[in-house]
Amino acid sequence: MTGVPLNIDWQQILLHLFNFTILFGALYILLYKPVKNFMEGREAHYADMDSRAEQALADAENSKASYEKKEKDFDEEIRAEKSKLSKEIEAERERRLAAARGEAEKIISNARGEAEREKNEIIESAQKEITGMVTDAMEKLTLEQTASDAFDQFLDAAEEADK
């Protein structure tokens, strides 16, 4: 081996190679691969957790959107129902008002009729009373006149008789 620079020995190089090959195989099987597998497994586990969390978040977002849509629809429905009800109430109010007006008019009309009738009755009664009174007065007058005439006639007759 004197001719080889730095005492390079091919047999020893191969022995070093043999040594390192065994070490490489052992380290790969015993340390590198299991640790790497574990790290990849953990990465996959967290990626899975992450995707599940993202899915849950997306579901929650969807639920929120759906709920908000439902809420909005419900508000719309309430608004429409309110509007419909207020219209109905207005119509009912109008109807009742009209009915009340009709009733009032009827009552007024009846009252007027009654009043007219009562008035007529009163007038008629008054007329009758006046007529009666006048008649009575006339009768009285007539009677008084007749009596005085009779008395006068009597007196005249008596005077004549005397004569």
Binding site: D9, N19, F20, L27, Y32, K33, K36, H45
Partner: protein
């Protein structure tokens, strides 16, 4: 601990260190000083003096023994992790699980960031990076073995041996070529062969970086007077930096070249002749 107790502890520690220092100076001789610094440093590069017997079959460089020991330690560690730690992994990781996941994640991310074909590349750079890092730190332990010459030496980093570095450089090049073949077929081989200097540069960069660290450490440890405090910075800190930097450099370069050669070649739109000399590109025709 009160201030006074702390002062006492520092004093006792300093006294013990002083006793050891005086003892080592008085003892003198021995150890590395049996060889000259030139011999030590030459041997660190050439590995022609100190050889270790491989089960009596062959005399090999001490770094090969380091390689076997480092591999053994790493395999046992991986086996313990596989049996006792990985089955107890939790979704929210603990400290040790986090360390394992970070190391695997760094190399896996490096592979994914550089190439779309990254399964094998990730596993390779994980093994190579871990081997270089652990191997370089291994020299800090100073494991002693007996050379064939009959004196003990501390085992160096596996990559501080030119044979180990050549193996790593050439293997990385072959891995890069495999990426080229998977990504672009025969053209991938051509693309890889364009960088024919790559195995050399990968090998000798690794070897040079580690051997320079080893030489500085040898130099520092050779002299008794420099064996205090200095090794903490030069030995430990440099070795740690080497371990990190060289593991990163080799894995990064391998990933980059792998990504480059495995990238699909997009053919430019062909020009076709339309009646006589008039040429219209297919793309133009499609856009019209």
């Amino acid at each position: 601990m009160t201030k006074q107790e702390r002062k006492k502890a520092i004093l006792v520690f300093s006294l013990i260190a002083l006793v050891f220092m005086i003892g080592s100076i008085l003892a003198g001789g021995g150890g590395g000083e049996e060889e000259s610094i030139q011999t030590v440093m030459r041997d660190a590069v050439m590995h022609d003096v100190n050889k270790v017997s491989l089960f009596g079959l062959k005399d090999v460089n001490p770094a090969l023994i380091s390689g076997f020991i480092v591999s053994g330690i790493m395999i046992i560690f991986a086996l313990i992790c596989r049996i006792f730690v990985i089955p107890r992994f939790k979704l929210v990781p603990g400290k040790f699980q986090l360390v394992l996941e970070t190391v695997v994640g760094i190399f896996d991310g490096m592979a994914k960031g550089n190439s779309h074909i990254n399964g094998f590349l990730g596993a390779y750079i994980f093994a190579a990076g871990s081997y270089i890092f652990t191997g370089t730190l291994f020299e800090l332990l100073g494991v002693q073995v007996m050379t064939t010459g009959g004196h003990p030496i501390s085992l160096p980093a596996p990559m501080a041996d030119v044979n180990g570095a050549i193996m790593m450089g050439c293997l990385s090049y072959l891995v890069i070529m495999s990426g080229g073949i998977v990504g672009n077929g025969v053209k991938g081989i051509g693309k890889t062969l364009k960088d024919f200097s790559l195995p050399l540069s990968l090998s000798f960069r690794l070897f040079g970086a580690l051997i320079s660290g080893a030489l500085v450490t040898e130099l520092v440890y050779y002299y008794t007077a420099m064996s205090y405090v200095v090794p903490v910075i030069v030995g430990v800190l440099f070795t740690l930096l080497h371990a990190l930097i060289q593991a990163y450099v080799l894995t990064m370069l391998t990933s980059l070249f792998y990504g480059e050669v495995s990238e699909k070649v997009v053919k430019p739109p062909k020009e076709k002749k339309v009646r006589g000399k008039k040429r219209v590109t297919v793309a133009k025709e499609q856009s019209v």
